[in-house]
Structure formats: structure tokens, C-alpha cells
Amino acid sequence: MAATALSLSVMPAQAISPRSEVGVTSTAIKLGITLPMKGSASFGYNQLPGAMKAYFDYVNANGGVNGRKISLVVKDDGYLPKQAIINTQDLIAKDKVMAVIGALGTANNKAVASAVNLGRRGIPSLFINTGFSGFNDRKAYPTSSTLLPSYIMEAKMMSKYVKETYPGKKTCMLYQDDDFGDDALVGFDKTHGDLDFAVKVAYPSLSQGVAGVPDSWITKFKAGGCEVQIVFGVASATLYTVLAAVKAQYAPKWILGSVGADIGSINPATVPYIIGSTSMSFMPSVVDPKDAYVTQFKEINTKYNVGAKFNSWALIGMNTAFIAVQALKAAGKNPTRKSLLAAIDASGSTFPNAALVPLNYSKTSNVGLNGYWFGTFNKTGDLVPNDTFTYTVYTTDSGTGPVEKSSYTRPAMPAKGLPN
């Protein structure tokens, strides 16, 4: 017994410390993201990593997470699923990241989860930037979580809004003819939002960039006598639709889905065309002068993301990093992939963050946020709820539950924007 005790006492510390996790050392935590950074699909999204890094740099400058500095490896997938697969494989095998965070796109993340076998390998892909409801399938995506409210939720809320705001008006919709649009169709159907359309046009992804195609959509909408026009598409589809509408002198009441509404960031020349248009957001307005999160994140952006405009993308990116830091802290002093996932399941729903609706992570839910407020685009192309920045927030689920006013009280921003 004495000999054993002696031998243990002289063993080096690392020999008896817990097995270290991939991407985690005593001084650092490495995370990764794949998303479009260049090309036509990158607009707006390519600002996410800069904002995320800025927040991580801010945390690192203030002691890191339990003494560990966080780094983010960014890879450009051009919005191509096959490239996203390669990037994710590289992030895991070559860069050796602990987790993927904030990856973008439904198709990309479905492809990655399947081809890279994230679930079976226990590799977290957290806070995916998509509202595709299918990711809530815990069996198919045991290590994935989404950040955005589901597109079903968005469509349900939009239905309520249209019926209350424009009763009796002819409503029409343009939607993307894939998983994204399919979710929207569910949200609008009889058992969910129950909104009827005079004209519905489905566009295959990428067709929006083909000359003449957006004009053909507008022709259909005009012929249908549409008075309220929903666009449930990506930003480039919204952009080309609005431009085609201007050309055809088609001027309905625009309701732009949250995914593709921010075309002013892509092309400032379009701002005049969307002034007064309606859209939705789960985050506070980026020009809200009294929002503590916006104020804090804006300061961090100015200092650590030098030269980058603070817009809705920057706000989402910074908020994602803010949530990630809390998840890492909750994962324990020596975080592992397993403890990180467990921490999100156990306490993810309580993480303070800028969103005006709560996170919904649990042992049975991969879903992040669950609601929106409605607003209009102002003269600078920013979405605002009203002149006083008073938000009426709605919440619902991806099922047939009602759309209700949210009673959620957002936790206060931790001191200096640093989670406890």
C-alpha cells in the first residue's frame, strides 16, 4: 500500500488528470464554422464570423472561459453542401475543433450531419443558422441544435399578422421550393396558420438569378390582383423580386420573411424600395438606442471588429458567440464534447442573450428561439418596431399550438457583457 501511494505521489499531474478533449487544452478552446464567405450567397452571412470572433476576442481579453482562450476557425463553403461536408471534415480531422458553431444553411447542415456522421461521433454542431424544423429530430440530429425560430413558427405568426392587419385583402406568396419553403407551407396550412393565398409561386433555388424569371413572378402576382405580397425566400430572391416589382410598377404591401428581408445590407440602393415594408425579427432592432445588449455588442464590435458595420448580421453573430461562451462555461472546468451537449440540454434554455424570445434547448428539444416581433423598415433600411422601440413579441411552436403574445422577460445583460 505504501509503495502504491508513493508511486502515485510522484506521477506527473497530467497522468491523473481527466482525458483532454479534442479542441480543448489547458489554455485554449478551438471552435469552427463553415458558411459562405464569398460569392453570391455570402452577402450578410459573411459578416457572422467577424462578429463572433470579435466577441470571443473580447472574452479572451477578459480572462477567457475558465482561463482558456477561444479561437474560431472559419471556412468558406460557398453555400455548397459538398464543400460544407469537406470543410466540416477538415475542421474535425485537421483543425481538430471541439465543436462547430453557427454553421449556415439547411441543405448544408443536413448533408454534413449525414455524411460526416456527427451524431454517431458525438461531435456538436451548435446554434445552426437555419429555421428548418427537421433539425428538432433528436434521433436524426442528436448533436445538433438550431438557433433561429422554425420557419413553421414564422409562417404561423405571419398568418396571424396578415389576417389581423389586412383582413379581406388578396394575399400572395413567393417561396423557395425546398425544405425552407416546405416548412413555410406547413406553417400557412389549414391546421397551422390557416392563411389562403390568391397566388402562390414556388421558385427553385438559384432560379431567382436567371434573367427574366423574377419578372415572370411579378406578372403572375399582378395578374392575380395581389394586394399583400409575402416573400418567403433568401435575400437574393427578395432583392430580385423587389427590383422586378419596381420595374413593373407593382406596389403591394410587402411582408418579407426574416431570412431574406435585409436586402438593404446587400444593396443599399434598394433601401428606398423597402421603406415601410414589414418584416420580423427575434432580435432587438440594431438601431434601438436603449437596448443594453445592442449597446454592449455595438461597443465590442467597434473595438474588436474594426471597420465592420454593426448590422443585424453582426448582432446575430455576436449573440451566437455570447451563447457559446455560456455553454462552454456550463460544460464544466474541463469541458468535453459530451459535457458541452449535456450543458446545453440542462441549462441552455436559461442562457441570457439578446433575443426577445427564449431559447428552448432541453433533453428533448434542439430548437433555439421561438418567436418574433413585427416591424417596418425605416429610411436607413433598418427594421424597427415603432418610433419608441416598444416590441410586441409573439411566440408559438412548430406544431398546431396558438400564436400568442410572449410573456418572456429577457434576462439582463451580465455586467460588461461577460457571462458569469
Binding site: A107, A111, L206
Partner: protein
């Protein structure tokens, strides 16, 4: 030479009527075993003979024979001779061929004899799908060799393509004869492999040219001529589809249902891609990576919407000859239509991942629904194949179906985007093995025993990161031989690595996994050992 040259022969368009009188159908020889007759030369002795079913064999034995012998199983060969186009090739092969070689690469042979390893192999008594005949020949050949060379200690089986499937089946059925195996881009079990072939052929015929016969060929030479006419029609369809990628136009020979899809605005490239996704062929090929596009506006649209269709086209071109010749040969052997797709629900063969990843290439969900609806069994414009009961029964009872069980230490090698033997064939074997291995480890640990050795090593032949090229005008450039694509597209260095790995396993009783071996894998270039792959299994298993 078989596998590597067949494609070019299959696609030589033929003047069919002129050939009718010259067809010669091969039939198995029926003679007693002969040999081995050895030349007694040194330092390399060569012996030849025939097995009891008439399969010609060859043995090459170095004077320094160390007791290890390899037995090679060759790839698929046509079973009908058409002078000038196809020749039944029953010559014995003892090693993989390099470009323009037959019987086995001298480089590969020397590599082994220099180590004191002997090589044997036969030409098999029949060609086409010959798995059962081949195993019989291999068993007999091993016996003949051991009787002649009594110092034999280890037998290592290897083979590619059809021969890969034969090698796997050989190891499954006769592990007692083998010390290890090297299985190179193997065919799958006949049920799976034939479904892959028939799905591709039937879908192409149904949409693009319903006058293609595909099944119910006349017996004998007349049927062979009908098959050749079909090859011509398939080739014409592929040519039209290539032209239609840019315009969206469907072949003029398309069915009414297909032309209705065209009228609805669905481009032919989407239908082509759909066929590939339903059958399970890769959407990446030697020329088209689906990752990069020409600079400018098409940078994203090209890899998403166009390249997958063109890759499918290129890959179908690579498999069509094998598929049609194999299907025709089996019909002759079974005495009728041996397959039946009346109950196949093709809509279930489009995976959720494909529906999502290739959504743009497939022109969106509405187009997907429209295309799948035309394949409904009730659509009279898409008649299903109705099998002949007797031939189907014979087909079901005749062939050994590979199980994928690993019974001897086995190294496998396959390309990520092999159009003839999709990577999913090996993926399934690997997945099944990993499950068995995990259970065996658990059992061993529970019993306090040593954890068993891992008996399967898969070497994936992988592509470069990106490989598509474009000219100054933004048009794609055709690329041949991209690593990880094409059928049996391996280097001699890779073949050497594979057989050395199998011999090492035979010598030691376990596969090498150490750093020295991994260095050799790296040195062979283009190969990866990756147990995290997740290539989709063949559609046959999606039942």
C-alpha cells in the same frame, strides 16, 4: 484485358446487322483438369493447366518461394464474342493489369516474386456474372497449387471489380483456405448489384427512349444484336442529354410523360440527376467535382445545378456497358427475364439528403414531385419490367449472395466515386464489420480476454480537394483519370500497397496499423484510412 478496356469497347457503336452472322456465344468448356505443366525455369518458373471445368490457369513461382501464394480473381468480362468489338477473354490472369496489359502487370508480378511470393490465377470457365464458377475454380486451383508446391503455408486472395466480389465471396465461403484477402472495388451481392444496373437502365429507357428493349431479348445471337442496338440507343440518349444540359431540352426520343415534364419547365439535366440519385450513382466524376464553377455569375449555380448532372452523365457512361452486358448475359443464363421492378417504389429511393442537397439541381420540390409521379407503377407510359417466373426463381436460387462478413484479415480499396461499384458497397461491409467488431470487443472485455484484432482495413481512394477546370470562356474541360473517380482507377503503387498489406496480415495473423504502415499508405498517395466515412449504402438495402 478485361475491366479497364471494356468501356471503350462497349461504346464503339456497331453496325449491328453486319455483325449478326458473326456472333459467337461462349460456352463453358467441359473437359477434365489438365496440368499443371511447368517450364522448370529459374529463377521464375511458370506452370499452366486447366481446372476440371476448363478454366485456364497460370502459376508463377519464384525459386525463392517463401510459402506464400496469391490468387488473383479478374474483373468482369463479356460472355459473347462479337468479332471486332467484344472477345470473350478466358486467359488466365494472375495480378492486376496496368494500362494496355493483360494477364497481370509484369511490374506487379515482379514485385511479388522478388519477395519470394508465388502468384496464381485463372481465366474462369465462364464470363459475365461468374461468381460461383470463379469460386469453384479458385478452390480447385488452390488445391492444385498446394499439391504441387507442398511447402505452401499461406494463401492470399485478391481481385478487383467482379474479382473483388469473387475474392470477398471466396473468403466468406472458404476462410479455411485463406490467410488474408485484398478486396478491390468489389461488386456487391448480385441482388444489390443487379438492382443498381437495372434501375439505371430502366429509368433511362423509361424517360428518354422507351423503344430501348432492355429485357426479353431473343435467344442467342439475335438477342445479342438487340442488345447492341440498345447500346446504340443509350449512347444516342447520352449524347442528346449532354447537349441538353445547357438548353434543358430532352432527347427527342423521350416518352410522352417525359415530354410533359419538359413542357412543364423541368430541364432534362434535372431528370438525368434524378436518375442518378434514384439509382445511387455518384454525382461527382472525373471531370466534374460539383465544388467549383467558372468565375463570375455561375460560380455557385454551376456546381449546384449543372455539374452534378454532368457528373451523373459521365458516370453513367462509365457503367452503362457493364450494366447492359451483365443484364443481357444473365438473361441468357437464366433463360428469361430474371428481374422484376413492378413493386419498386422509386419515390422512396430518393433520400432525404439528396432531396435537400441536390434540390437546386433537381429544380425544386415541385419538379421532384412531378418527376417521381411519372414513375408511378400505375402510369401506363412507364411500364415496369415483369419478370418470368421460372427465370426469377432460378435467379433467386442460383447465385451466392455475398454477406459482407469478414472472416479473414481483409484489406479493401475503393474509389470514392466509382461509377460501377459505388463506395456504398464497401461502406456497408465496413459498417457491418464495425458493429461486429464492437460486439466482439465488448464480449472479450466482459470475459477478461484480450480485445480481438481489427480484421478490416479500408483504403479509400480519394479525390483532390477540387479538380474541375474551365477554359477562358468558362466552359468545363474534360478530365480523365482523376483519382478517386472512375472504375478500377488505381496506380501500381496502390496495388502494391494493398497486396503488401494483405501479405503482412497473412504473415502475422493481423493487419498492420502501425506508423510504418501508415507511412506506406501516405507514400502510395491518394489513399486514406478513414473509419468515419458514411457513403450511402446501395439502394437495394433501403427496403
Amino acid at each position: 484485358m478485361r475491366t479497364t478496356s471494356f468501356k471503350s469497347r462497349a461504346f464503339a457503336l456497331v453496325s449491328t446487322t453486319a455483325l449478326l452472322a458473326t456472333l459467337v456465344v461462349a460456352s463453358p468448356a467441359n473437359a477434365a483438369a489438365t496440368g499443371p505443366t511447368c517450364d522448370g525455369k529459374t529463377p521464375i518458373q511458370t506452370c499452366t493447366g486447366t481446372t476440371s471445368d476448363g478454366a485456364a490457369y497460370k502459376m508463377v513461382i519464384p525459386a525463392t518461394f517463401n510459402g506464400t501464394v496469391t490468387i488473383w480473381s479478374h474483373g468482369f468480362g463479356g460472355n459473347t464474342t462479337i468479332p471486332g468489338y467484344f472477345a470473350v477473354d478466358s486467359t488466365a490472369q494472375i495480378a492486376p493489369n496496368g494500362p494496355g496489359e493483360n494477364g497481370g502487370s509484369p511490374v506487379a508480378i515482379k514485385h511479388l516474386t522478388d519477395k519470394g511470393v508465388a502468384l496464381i490465377g485463372s481465366g474462369f470457365s465462364t464470363q459475365g456474372w461468374n461468381l460461383d464458377e470463379a469460386i469453384k475454380a479458385n478452390v480447385e486451383l488452390v488445391g492444385i497449387f498446394k499439391a504441387k508446391f507442398t511447402t505452401t503455408k499461406k494463401v492470399v486472395a485478391w481481385g478487383y471489380s467482379m474479382g473483388g466480389g469473387i475474392t470477398q465471396a471466396f473468403a466468406e465461403q472458404h476462410p479455411e483456405l485463406l490467410s488474408s484477402a485484398a478486396v478491390i472495388n468489389p461488386v456487391d451481392a448480385w441482388g444489390s448489384q443487379s438492382k443498381y444496373f437495372i434501375d439505371l437502365l430502366w429509368l433511362m429507357k423509361t424517360w428518354f427512349d422507351p423503344t430501348i428493349k432492355l429485357t426479353g431479348y431473343a435467344p442467342g445471337a439475335g438477342g445479342d444484336m438487340q442488345m447492341l442496338q440498345d447500346i446504340g440507343k443509350y449512347t444516342a440518349v447520352l449524347t442528346a442529354l449532354k447537349a441538353g444540359v445547357a438548353t434543358g431540352a430532352w432527347p427527342t426520343t423521350s416518352s410522352k410523360s417525359a415530354l410533359a415534364l419538359q413542357a412543364g419547365g423541368i430541364p432534362s439535366r434535372s431528370a438525368l440527376l434524378m436518375i442518378g440519385r434514384l439509382a445511387g450513382i455518384s454525382a461527382q466524376s472525373s471531370s466534374f467535382d460539383g465544388l467549383v464553377g467558372p468565375p463570375g455569375a455561375a460560380a455557385t449555380a454551376w456546381p449546384l445545378a449543372y455539374a452534378p448532372a454532368l457528373a451523373t452523365l459521365e458516370n453513367i457512361s462509365g457503367v452503362l456497358g457493364f450494366a447492359l452486358l451483365g443484364a443481357r448475359d444473365m438473361e441468357a443464363k437464366m433463360g428469361g427475364i430474371w428481374n422484376d421492378n413492378q413493386a419498386t417504389d422509386y419515390s422512396k429511393q430518393l433520400s432525404d439528403e439528396d432531396r435537400s442537397v441536390h434540390n437546386a439541381g433537381l429544380s425544386g420540390n415541385s419538379a421532384i414531385t412531378a418527376m417521381l409521379s411519372t414513375l408511378n407503377p400505375l402510369n401506363p407510359d412507364a411500364p415496369r419490367i415483369k419478370g418470368d417466373a421460372a427465370a426469377m426463381a432460378k435467379n433467386a436460387s442460383t447465385h451466392y449472395q455475398n454477406t459482407g462478413k469478414i472472416k479473414v484479415p481483409t484489406v479493401m480499396m475503393i474509389g470514392q466515386h466509382d461509377p460501377v461499384e459505388p463506395a456504398g458497397i464497401v461502406q456497408r461491409i465496413s459498417d457491418l464489420y464495425e458493429a461486429d467488431f464492437a460486439a466482439a470487443k465488448k464480449t472479450a472485455r466482459k470475459a477478461g480476454k484480450d480485445v480481438p484484432a481489427r480484421n478490416l482495413q479500408v483504403l479509400w481512394s480519394v479525390t483532390p480537394k477540387t479538380w474541375s477546370k474551365f477554359d477562358a470562356a468558362g466552359s468545363p474541360i474534360s478530365i480523365a483519370g482523376t483519382p478517386g473517380t472512375g472504375h478500377t482507377n488505381f496506380t501500381m503503387a496502390q496495388y502494391k500497397l494493398v497486396i503488401d498489406t494483405a501479405i503482412s496480415a497473412a504473415d502475422n495473423g493481423y493487419l498492420p496499423w502501425n506508423g510504418a504502415h501508415l507511412s506506406k499508405v501516405n507514400k502510395a498517395k491518394g489513399l486514406e484510412i478513414d473509419r468515419s466515412t458514411a457513403y450511402p449504402w446501395m439502394k437495394y438495402y433501403n427496403k
